[in-house]
Symmetry: C2
Subunit: 337 residues, 2 copies
């Protein structure tokens, strides 16, 4: 068999349950012979002046160099004078698109049984500009920024993704009936890009109506693209349809082809170190990472083993109503490889 | 029997299916001997300079005088130089709280079976400030305004409502982890008011997490209070849980005790005039109006007749999968009075 040079990827195990679920990924990758060499970085214990956060400069350099990484949950320590870890990563690495596939898992029943959605969220601007101030006492404002550059970039990513994955429809989600200038510009950019993809159906849906339609019939949608806050809201709503953030992968795409896959759930400090955490979201995120590297054989093998283990239903962590330990669930996946 | 002086209420039948569903309300009120004398006003055909919209000044004066009204769907005519009809009403009448009860209807099955939620939406500011501009070419901004005055006012309404209706919990929905100043002020005001209601549990839930929890288990919530855009989104999501905007009432509360109840669905021009419209949302809104007037006997009688008719399932309009005409459904409700 051919021995290929391993690809280096940055791994941020993160806090709380992070190290345990990262261990699960490492073991499964090893068992599946995925050609990845992990470069591990932990969140620092002091603010690094170069990142203004607890993330070390070295860890960001590692992602910039490797262009690919996987990230566990990071709890931003409370206190002043530093930035949220997640937001620092997005800003510093210019992670402009957040992609969250969300599909029903056979074996884990919810009220919805054939969800198959991709939300693509603009990840750098909008309501997350950080521009806020007090106008006069008792009157405060926050500024939402939409730029042509970031909107075109995420729209292009969404249509490119849709085409590459054989998806048929892209829905741009907005509130341009109220925010005519900002969401209006976002839509204008989506329309421009849509014209270059005549084979993909393009539509525009107002966010309130989108949420109502999603809970009534998620099969009405396929790929959804939207400004930052709407993406934050809708991707969590979609995750809820299939069981929650413990089951949904996420991948951030940055300029220059960077991909940082991540589990978007919390660090669950209450169960940390107890071998109780569900590694599914981080595992499925690691699969997204493999796909980004075009390692589809390994991705398929690992993804199928995860889905088969869940479908079988014999090994389940407590969050899904089971009694399996993280390590038992991990071993079951390895047995399914 | 005692004959009481009727109470005058403004009625905006609205556009599209509006007149048909308003007719249904009028007939049912007459049959139930609800002591309401309607003062009907239609949307004008020209922009009224005093309202800057197609709403006439007289119609706003009518609501100001009567302090109570009912409104069907209004389609804002397309074109420049005038304001949305809904937004004009909210601004001109200072309708600061939008209250949307949302409960499962027995007889109309959805994926959720015991939804019982009240969303209370700040209705005058936030993302709806109308302040937007281009900063430089390709860079636009929208300004979200939160004031202490409006936040305290809606929080007070929410707690007052919760107490008056025997509700146990108020959840303030926000994104203060990102918009620390604006949503932070909103939360601060909610906390201040919460202190005056020790018998009601107060909690704060981030909007993305709230949407995920709502689709997983709506029974986790009771009364929800929030800034304008989140209210727009979450009230539609909640409506989706029980079947859509055709089934959910809404009531706007304004300064000086004004209450303008409204159906929040669209004017459905495609089926207008065809006797096919479902009057349920406007009917349940008219019930909210009666409750606001403390006419609980009449409100109960009409509400029960509506719910019994839906539960019986014999008469159903097309949107609910039935074949009944608007007038047949209306007659069935009258028979259930
Ligand atoms: C933790 C928070 C800042 C973050 C966000 O709002 O983007 C989270 O909700 C997410 O979706 O990654
Ligand atoms: C029509 C639109 C302006 C309005 C809003 O956004 O408030 C509607 O969605 C509503 O909820 O009443």
């Amino acid at each position: 068999s051919s021995v290929s040079t391993p690809i280096r990827a940055t791994l941020f195990p993160g806090d709380g349950i992070g190290p345990e679920i990262a261990e699960s990924v490492k073991q499964i990758f090893q068992a599946a012979e995925a050609p990845i060499e992990w470069e591990e970085h932990y969140v620092g214990t002091e603010v690094d002046p170069r990142t203004q956060s607890f993330l070390t400069w070295e860890s960001l350099e590692s992602v910039r160099r490797n262009r690919v990484g996987l990230k566990g949950p990071m709890a931003t320590p409370i206190g002043k004078g530093h930035r949220s870890l997640n937001l620092t990563l997005r800003k510093e690495l210019n992670l402009y698109a957040n992609v969250r596939p969300c599909y029903s898992l056979s074996g884990y029943k919810t009220r919805y049984d054939n969800v198959d959605l991709i939300t693509i969220r603009e990840n750098t601007e909008g309501e997350y500009s950080g521009l806020e101030h007090q106008v006069v006492r008792g009157v405060v404002e926050s500024i939402k920024i939409i730029t042509r550059q970031a909107s075109i970039r995420v729209a292009e990513y969404a249509f490119h993704y849709a085409k590459a994955h054989g998806r048929k429809r892209v829905s741009a989600i907005h509130k341009a009936n109220i925010m005519q200038k900002t969401d209006g510009l976002f839509l204008k950019c989506c329309r421009e890009v849509a014209e270059k993809y005549p084979e993909i159906t393009y539509e525009e849906v107002v966010i309130d109506n989108c949420c109502m339609m999603l809970v009534k019939n998620p099969a009405l949608f396929d790929v959804l693209v939207m400004p930052n806050l709407y993406g934050d809201i809708i991707s969590d709503l979609c995750a809820g349809l299939i069981g929650g953030l413990g089951l949904t992968p996420s991948c951030n795409i940055g300029e220059g082809g960077i991909a940082l896959a991540e589990a978007v759930h919390g660090s669950a400090p209450d169960i940390a170190g107890k071998n109780l955490a569900n590694p599914t979201a981080l595992l499925l995120s690691s699969v997204s990472m493999l796909r980004h590297l075009d390692l589809h054989d390994k991705a398929d093998r690992i993804q199928n083993a995860i889905l088969d283990t869940i479908a079988e239903g014999k090994y389940r962590t407590a969050d899904l109503g089971g009694t399996s330990k993280t390590t038992e669930f991990t071993k079951a996946i390895i047995d399914h490889l």
